[in-house]
Symmetry: C2
Subunit: 132 residues, 2 copies
């Protein structure tokens, strides 16, 4: 298995083990000194231990599924569909892996729904979020 | 050049030609019946022609640069740094290419800055957006 195939597999397991609350399994994918960043809030979490705690403590009945995984050498991008109650949203996670195949960095984006600005109605049609 | 290498090159050109307002060059990368979607607003633009018009008409002195490109066969994910005036943000674009190497679909996410929710201060440090 080449680097890209391994990265693709790790990225999928990252989502699936998170969804399953398999914290021991998730820990196996993570480097001990990993860094997790959320640029939208400017928050950074250092270390596997704190990252796992962050996930365990994350409020709400959230569920993740893989929308798309794009893997390229030691990097992956993961498009996740996230639901929490009736709320449905997308997330974009960027993963970096070590030479040993452990996740060393996760950068997470949580793009929220918003009303489109005026002035481009002549070019667009609207679709329902649930159709994506 | 294999599919992944070609996809990576097309993704980079997509950002660079947009930044350069090289609309003729950008058009060469796009399938005529391409689809552009923004799930956050539920907006969809059909056809290369309307997509180019959308870009030409997009207000503001916006600038794009490549943060990261991850390419995998006919798919790519592009992390862009976007500035407009003093505003600085990230964008995540998901590209799909045809067998001929033309972009058939772009899904764009524009994650905006927000204040972090309370309750996780014991796990996080804060960093400045400009440091990413």
């Amino acid at each position: 298995m080449n680097d890209t195939a391994r990265t693709r597999e790790v990225a999928r397991a990252y989502v699936e083990r998170s969804e399953q609350r398999d914290w021991a399994g998730l820990a196996q994918l993570l480097a001990e000194d990993m860094v997790y960043e959320m640029p939208q809030t400017g928050e950074r979490i250092r270390s596997r231990e704190r990252f796992l705690q962050f996930n365990r403590e994350y409020p709400g009945d959230w569920h993740l599924s893989v929308g798309r995984i794009v893997a390229d050498g030691a990097n992956a991008a993961v498009w996740m569909q996230v639901s929490s109650g009736s709320e449905l949203m997308d997330a974009c996670a960027w993963l970096e892996l070590s030479a040993q195949g452990l996740i060393t960095r996760v950068t997470d984006f949580w793009p929220e729904a918003y009303e489109p600005p005026a002035g481009r109605e002549h070019l667009v049609e609207r679709f329902s979020r649930s159709a994506t």
